[in-house]
């Protein structure tokens, strides 16, 4: 499906935004370069900042192709950054000690470029996936990138209402690292704890907002620690101790172990989160349900949204609408 449907769905919920950030991510949009990591970069000044990124990438692999991400002027959107994309193949021989050298190189490069703050920010780094975001209303951001020109099989989108930090392009959702992308409604009040924890594993938070940490936590738990995504979500939003105490023994034991092991990864505060990678889409809320989440199904399509109206805007004949219980993840798998 192209991006026009989700653009329309997102615009149903403009009451939830403030025009300071919106974004989209689509999976399956770069079939010609599906073996390359697609790096989406914001340059502050293309002449000054690009050569540094070019050199860094060339040092760690091969740039198969790079180009400006096509954009189209919008009257209500000031282009404060230049969006660029690289299709990059890392050289695995440069990380011989790693079991997943290519992912590790790209992840480390992303952290290095973003931490250097030299006018370049890598905000999307997976294969056959791309984030398109900017400061503005959902329709303006969609039209700025003409997202209807992209054909993807999984789409996430977000309309931002920044409350605790300033709105800027890098702070718009989705947040992505390698395969996983995240959109979030709410606030992670445990951000300080989560950030200290994740930074001890070599991640660096550079986007000035809480949701970034969720993308890195999922990368750590799923890619590096090998947890299934539903288990990773259970670590991030575990059952209350009283619920764990009521479980049968075997279940109680592993839930206790998971919660103790990942105590600093546990997220507090209000949240409804949807995350996706190439094969999965998962939605979950905080354990006391302080944010809404509605799930729709129609044929083999799964919709997760803050409001039912957005789902019906995209799928007027939706077959089922449900509101999952707090903390109960909803998982969709891409059929092989």
């Amino acid at each position: 499906m192209d991006g026009s449907g989700i653009r329309q769905a997102l615009s149903m919920m403009n009451e939830r935004g403030s025009g300071e950030g919106a974004g989209y991510v689509a999976y399956g949009i770069y079939p010609d370069y599906r073996d390359c990591y697609a790096l989406h970069v914001f340059f502050d000044n293309i002449r000054e900042n690009k050569s540094v990124v070019d050199a860094t990438l060339a040092q760690w692999g091969t740039i198969e192709h790079d180009e400006a991400i096509p954009t189209y002027d919008r009257p209500n959107l000031r282009a404060v950054h230049t969006p660029w994309r690289y299709f990059f193949k890392p050289d695995p021989s440069l990380a011989p000690a790693s079991t997943s050298p290519e992912d590790d190189i790209v992840s480390a490069l992303t952290m290095r470029v973003n931490t250097a703050r030299r006018g370049a920010l890598i905000f999307s780094s997976g294969k056959d996936v791309g984030v398109f975001k900017a400061g503005g209303w959902p329709e303006d951001v969609a039209d700025f990138y003409r997202i209807e020109d992209y054909e993807g099989y999984t789409w996430l989108a977000h309309n931002r209402y920044p409350t605790n930090t300033p709105g800027w392009w890098g702070g718009a959702h989705p947040f992505n690292l390698l395969g996983w992308s995240v959109v979030h409604n709410g606030e992670i009040t445990s951000y300080g704890t989560n950030r200290r924890y994740i930074e001890s594993f070599g991640y660096t938070c550079t986007m000035f907002t809480d949701t970034e940490v969720v993308a890195y936590l999922i990368d750590l738990l799923v890619r590096r620690h090998g947890l299934e995504i539903d288990l990773a979500v259970r670590a991030l939003a575990p059952p209350f101790w009283e619920e764990i105490d009521r479980m049968p023994e075997a279940e109680r034991e592993w839930n206790r172990a998971l919660r103790l092991t990942y105590a600093p990864a546990m997220m507090n505060g209000p949240f409804a989160i949807v995350a996706a990678d190439a094969g999965t889409m998962i939605g979950f809320t905080d354990r006391t349900k302080l944010r809404p989440m509605v799930v729709g199904e129609c044929g083999d399509r799964l919709y997760i949204s803050s409001e039912e109206a957005a789902i019906r805007a995209m799928e007027p004949k939706v077959e089922s609408i449900t509101m999952p219980a707090a903390g109960e993840p909803v998982v969709g798998r891409v059929a092989p």
Partner: protein, 245 residues
């Protein structure tokens, strides 16, 4: 003859939509039919008068907020906080509703045929003759009647057992009446179960009959069913929690 006004809500923002509804009421409409509603919030905001508003589609959050008098009938689901701070009148929802149904409601009735989300009846309140009533046909989720300060909240559980835990968390006024038994472990601190008496039954019977009439249900089995009554254990549940005397 009753005056009917039709409004097509397709793609209309809630501000002009509400202006058109208010204009129709001013012009003496008895019934307003709003079709193709999708996600518009605040429909019926502060609306007064004797009018009936029929909504076809899925209205957005805060439906009938501050409403004082009219009847709003929704042929579809509702989103968060329908009946928010409603003052008088009636809201009938033929589908399900989201979280915080009847939020801070201070008068009138909200009848939901299906399930409601979390925090149903949060901070409902009453004063002298003002006593809000929320009746849910299906199930209610956790934190039902949270911080409830007054009013009557009934859950009929017609679609199976109630899912709510932490019922009446911080309740300090009003009452929650649930059809069937409720596990005491599902009650929050500050809420307490008391016997459901014949006087209680006589008091809720007219409400149940009205609800059943609105949805075409047989009222008598519901009137004669067993109920659990939950009330505040204290009028000041948080004394000593935030301040010390």
């Amino acid at each position: 003859m009753a005056k009917q006004v039709a409004i097509d809500g397709k793609g209309v923002h809630y501000t002009p939509l509400n202006q058109r509804i208010r204009k129709a009421v001013e012009d003496g409409a008895d019934e307003i039919v709003v079709s193709n509603v999708l996600g518009q919030r605040f429909i019926g905001d502060g609306l007064r008068g004797n009018v009936t508003v029929r909504i076809y589609g899925v209205p957005g959050g805060d439906l009938a907020i501050f409403m004082s008098g009219p009847t709003v009938i929704v042929h579809g689901n509702a989103e968060h906080a329908p009946g928010n701070t409603m003052d008088a009148g009636k809201l009938i929802i033929h589908g399900n509703a989201g979280d915080a149904v009847a939020h801070s409601m201070r008068g009138g009735k909200v009848f939901v045929r299906g399930d409601i989300g979390y925090r149903g009846g949060i901070h409902m309140k009453q004063y002298e003759t003002q006593c809000p009533i929320l009746v849910v046909g299906g199930s209610a989720q956790t934190f039902l009647g949270e911080y409830m300060a007054g009013g009557l909240l009934i859950v009929l559980g017609l679609n199976g057992p109630i899912k709510a835990r932490e019922i009446g968390s911080g309740i300090h006024g009003g009452e929650i009446i649930i059809r069937g038994d409720v596990d005491a472990a599902c009650l929050a601190t500050g809420a307490t179960q008391v016997p459901f008496t014949d006087e209680d039954r006589a008091r809720i019977a007219p409400v149940i009959r009205e609800y059943a009439g609105d949805f075409g249900l047989d009222p008598e089995p519901l009137v004669s069913a067993d109920y659990t009554r939950i009330i505040p254990a204290s009028a000041r549940p948080f004394v000593g929690k935030y301040t010390w005397e």
